[in-house]
Symmetry: C2
Subunit: 461 residues, 2 copies
């Protein structure tokens, strides 16, 4: 504890009184909470609290405000841009004990949850209602973390991102005040859209303690498919035509031949080493059939062939497992290597060009970099595989990422489609937003004048 500032030590003494054994100072617990799944350096907080209610979070935050102690909310630690690192020490709020479903409103297709529940646990809970929550960022992340980072994933093309699927939030502000950002009505024009302001704010404006989410009826029919293409351009053009035709595809995921190779090896599969689309259709039985036929016809014109279909749940799971295993497959490519996930998103008309230029750049750099993409949204990820101990490799990977981001920005895209800013993307924010960053800073200062809410992330003060 020698590095804890005196004011934090005083705050911790008060917090111990408040929380008892729900405040941990153990080194192992602290270190676990200063680290996410990225390559970004870990920074352990001075203490970790395990609050049980909104009121308790408010009391904790108030106490921290009095002692100018930073506060960092933590869900499952699956963020990818250093979001949870305690750069200036302070208190980590581990939200996992606030993991209850508060209320399901089946008739309104909504649910209110505490932030610590994970998306899989929520869908498990909902199983008997015939409803589901669609957003799937890959990791079994907490809904609080998904809200804070504006997460999306494979089926955002149909169901939107967390931006579109959060109806209302309870938030503890930097001074301990508790607010509700909106009522439960589906739409409202009553005042500034505070819900959307906190969605994607990465804990820098307040701590989310309750979330009301939209739900959807489980589709009557679901059909999945895999299709190989002779070129990346053909695959991307199929996606563009599909979207333009208004076909409400639920998932449309691109894997390049490098990624296909990795999952073939990892999962013992034998997909052709070609750009490949994984697709899913949701709807009525007739509707799904019609969508599938339309997309198959579109793909055929773009060099797509070898459609493999799956409609039974176990077949669909098996098909998608390969896509979901991409992260593990990439880890297995090179033992002990670091993985750096890029996250640009561009207007879909520029997607093929962006991917092709990037693949050329990858080839020149010599970096191993399988590609997966939520291509219906114009969003794709490279997994840059590198030896973190080799400065030359590290520099090559960083340069590749820099060029990728600047290429995306030049195409009117964004440095991050869904992972968020954290510390990793801060250096690109000015290039992306220009003077709008100053407005973000004004808002941050107005709502967190002491700069205690996840300080050092997103906007530099």
């Amino acid at each position: 504890m020698s590095t804890v500032p005196a004011r934090n030590a005083r705050a911790i003494a008060h917090l111990q009184q408040l929380l008892g054994d729900r405040l941990s100072l153990s080194q192992a617990v602290r270190e676990q909470h200063g680290r996410d799944e990225s390559w970004h350096p870990a920074h352990a907080p001075d203490a970790v609290a395990f609050p049980q209610s909104t009121e308790e979070v408010a009391a904790i935050v108030k106490l921290c405000a009095e002692h100018a102690m930073p506060v960092i909310a933590f869900g499952t630690g699956t963020s990818l841009e250093g979001h949870v690192a305690a750069l200036f020490g302070g208190l980590c709020l581990d939200m996992t004990r606030m993991n209850q479903v508060v209320r399901v409103n089946a008739a309104d297709l909504d649910v209110t949850v505490q932030p610590g529940i994970t998306r899989k646990a929520l869908n498990e809970y909902l199983r008997d209602t015939g409803l589901f929550f669609p957003i799937d960022p890959g990791a079994d992340a907490s809904l609080g973390g998904m809200t804070a980072t504006r997460a999306s994933g494979t089926n955002a093309v149909r169901y939107g991102t967390m931006r579109e699927n959060v109806l209302s939030l309870t938030v503890v502000l930097a001074d301990g005040r508790i607010i509700r950002t909106a009522r439960r009505a589906r739409k409202s024009a009553a005042g500034y859209d505070l819900t959307r302001l906190f969605v994607g704010s990465e804990g820098t404006l307040g701590v989310i303690t309750e979330i009301t989410l939209r739900l959807y009826g489980i589709p009557e029919a679901i059909s999945s498919a895999v299709c190989s293409f002779t070129s990346i351009g053909g695959a991307v053009n199929s996606v563009i035509t599909t979207i333009q035709s208004g076909i409400p595809v639920a998932r449309i995921e691109l894997l390049d031949e490098v990624q296909v190779d990795a999952i073939n090896r990892y999962s013992g599969l034998s997909y052709p080493l070609q750009p490949t689309l994984f697709l899913e259709f949701h709807g009525t039985a007739a509707g799904v059939r019609e969508q599938a036929e339309m997309v198959q016809a579109i793909a055929a014109e773009q060099g797509g062939s070898g459609f493999q279909w799956a409609t039974k749940p176990e077949e669909r799971s098996k098909l998608w497992q390969a896509r979901h295993d991409a992260a593990y497959a990439n880890k297995a490519l090179r033992p002990n290597a670091g993985l750096w996930a890029t996250d640009v998103c561009v207007p879909i008309s520029r997607l093929a060009e962006c991917i092709l230029e990037t693949k050329k750049d990858i080839a020149e750099s010599g970096v191993l970099a399988p590609l997966v993409g939520h291509v219906g949204d114009g969003n794709f990820h490279l997994t840059l595989v590198f030896d973190a101990g080799d400065p030359a490799e590290m520099a090559a990977v960083e340069a590749l990422n820099d060029r990728l981001v600047m290429r995306a920005l030049a195409m009117e895209g964004t440095c991050t489609g869904e992972h968020g800013v954290g510390t990793g993307k801060m250096k690109f924010l000015q290039a992306e937003h220009g003077d709008a960053v100053a407005v973000m800073r004004q808002i941050k200062k107005a709502l967190d004048p002491q700069n205690l809410m996840n300080p050092g992330k997103m906007v530099a003060l």
Copy 2:
């Protein structure tokens, strides 16, 4: 000009140099710009400017900031809560000369427009592209006004509101800085969601000078229908079941028997004097047929009958004309009467109860109040018909509206689903949002410290 504060007079002199004859001080022009379509009192601005570019708006706003002169943006003047009244005098920015389509990106399904273009002009412009912009608030409003008030309308149930359909904005801030709130990518996790902060901010945080909007392919098939019900509850329950079943209905509008009577009289029609749903389905020919069959089966179980279908464009237009003429039909009910449009929105599970309690209240009040509803969203409007010169009637209408809003709030609803706050709903904001109003005020103060952007609207400082 005798009532113009000295500092405004000085600002006007500078503006005249800047704008020449694009600055009007004429009484008629000023009075026209201080009034919207509501019963709220008009307040003429001191002058009206007709800017032609973002840069010119920035120069004007900067000048106004230097002289502490209020700035109020104006589109078509079709707002319903006193949004454009110059409560403290100042400059009205008439945006109608900034009415160009800047760029259509057909492959990306988006378009960038200046704020003065109206939704009908935009769709006229898009006609040859096979694309359309769906949001339809009834009036042929400007896109700037629709963005500023977070408008929606009849097909929000399928396509969302302005919140979901604005991708990015150019905004002139209170000090004349110009920002772009987002890139053109479909999704982004790069920083605070400034786009959504300005959508619905009613000109109180800045002036919107460019808007990038989502577009949609014109559906292959469109089918419309009208169906009468034996009870309001049956009509609303049909809507709930339709939504829960995931049927992607494009429009589902309720008219009560009072409203049906009014449009029958106005448009020479003979719909049964019963609660009535107007519906529309968009999709493939087969998809539309399937949706229609499913909804017809749902309605039949809830006392719905006498379905009239229209698929040809001219038949559909005729069918919807009746719905769109509701406002005129209501005006014709009582010559020279005032019309007060209410706008609550509740979770759909409470909608039938809210409507039934409200109709009982209407009956007791003796006020004439036809009802139309965007019932798929839980949003409905009463048109309260009253003699503005009769204090007793005015009081009865106001009391009816107050009770309606408080009833909606008690049901976790909102005082305004789509009309916005303006001055008319300010008194309900605290009841709806509690301490969150203080956060709105903090944001307003941070971005407009002199309180010059449409002052006196939405949040009181």
